[in-house]
């Protein structure tokens, strides 16, 4: 394997959590998530030459991965196999890890109903990006990022409440 390719795949392995989260936020069915994962890695590889070593790989990766998710569409023929993402065993257990998993399951279920841009806003917020950085990433002003994020969070809160989960 060429060293450039190996370097790329090693970096992807290190930062695959970003791809995992974006795929789960943007696609509900597992097959679509896998397709999006593939597409993101492919687009990252295609853009890899444009990656400037002076910037952080993860910063660059966020941008390409999010842009890919924004323009990715699921396969038409695939029927929505959205299962209720709340496995029973989670709901009945009450240790901390299970509680976190349940919260996350509610979050991912609710987030599916947001618009594409709103998902990107929430994603970057959860990744601890400032409003300024969010704006830069999405090509909108800092003020606009703040307002839109606040609206997206309110919407998300409402959606989670509708699932019967305390927020």
């Amino acid at each position: 394997m060429k060293s450039r390719e190996k370097e790329f795949l090693d970096l992807i392995e290190t930062h695959k959590g970003i791809i995992h989260k974006i795929s789960k936020m943007y696609m509900d069915a597992e097959d679509d998530q896998q397709d999006l994962t593939q597409e993101i890695i492919y687009q990252l590889w295609k853009s890899f030459d444009s990656f400037q070593q002076q910037s952080r790989f993860s910063t660059w990766m966020y941008r390409v991965a999010l842009n890919t998710a924004l323009v990715f569409f699921k396969k038409e023929k695939r029927k929505l196999a959205v299962t209720d993402m709340m496995p029973e065993h989670i709901a009945t257990e009450d240790n901390v890890a299970a509680a976190k998993e349940l919260q996350l399951a509610h979050f991912y279920k609710a987030v599916q109903k947001l618009e594409r841009i709103e998902k990107a806003l929430v994603f970057l917020h959860l990744e601890n990006y400032s409003h300024k950085e969010i704006g830069e990433n999405l090509g909108i002003s800092e003020g606009n990022a703040r307002t839109k994020l606040s609206r997206a969070k309110d919407k998300l809160k409402e959606l989670i409440k509708q699932q019967g989960y305390e927020f």
Binding site: L9, K21, T37, N67, V71, Q103, F107, I117, I160
Partner: protein, 207 residues
């Protein structure tokens, strides 16, 4: 639950199910609307090229009145020249799609508007070719010795009513073919254009 709880759960989310391929050759893609447009464009290019070449041989494998052969090839080469111009434009766009990366938002906007523009250009190309196709067809029909059409064409030269009817039929066919072309382009590319439009709309709203 609040957003801090989500953040905490989020940072511990397990990413074990992401399988990084052992080689980039294993990556498959064709899920982005631009990639699909690109693949459809490629197929259409070959079909059109093949059709153009085939039409060029029309006087060789069907009977053509010798007097109409030169007009046929004049019309044909004008159509070929127009096609070369459009093919070149499409080639530039195709190349751009191939090298385009999603590294910046600006690039994304540019790419998507470019895609929209290219589809419109493709429609105009198809519309431009229709009158040429009809002319070639008319010449072909007029060439047939046994054809009733020949008599009709001859009658049209002296009879105004027949001439008007013929022009009307020509225009009706023109409109019909334009409608068919629009339907074809919309069904072949429209789906992806709709997806692109949806993304652009969201961007516009967010800006």
């Amino acid at each position: 639950m609040n957003f801090d709880d989500i953040k905490s759960a989020w940072s511990n989310d397990n990413d074990d199910n992401v399988v990084v391929p052992s080689s980039v050759d294993q990556l498959k893609t064709l899920q982005l609307p631009v990639e699909k447009l690109r693949s459809n464009m490629k197929i259409e290019f070959y079909v059109q090229l093949f059709s153009l070449i085939l039409i060029g041989f029309l006087p060789r494998y069907t009977y053509f009145a010798p007097v109409l052969i030169i007009p046929f090839y004049v019309v044909y080469f004008v159509a070929v020249a127009i096609s070369v111009y459009y093919f070149f434009k499409f080639h530039l766009f195709y190349k751009q799609l191939n090298t385009a990366t999603l590294r910046s938002k600006d690039r994304l906007y540019a790419l998507y508007y470019e895609a929209k523009l290219s589809i419109e250009m493709y429609k105009s190309y198809a519309y431009t070719l229709i009158p040429f196709a009809l002319l070639e067809m008319a010449m072909h029909m007029a060439s047939r010795q046994d054809s009733k059409m020949k008599a009709v064409f001859q009658a049209a030269v002296t009879n105004q009513a027949i001439a008007i009817t013929m022009v009307s039929v020509f225009l009706a066919m023109l409109l019909l073919l334009m409608a068919i072309t629009t339907f074809w382009v919309n069904s072949y590319y429209g789906k992806y254009m709709k997806q692109i439009g949806k993304v652009l709309e969201e961007f516009k709203e967010a800006a």
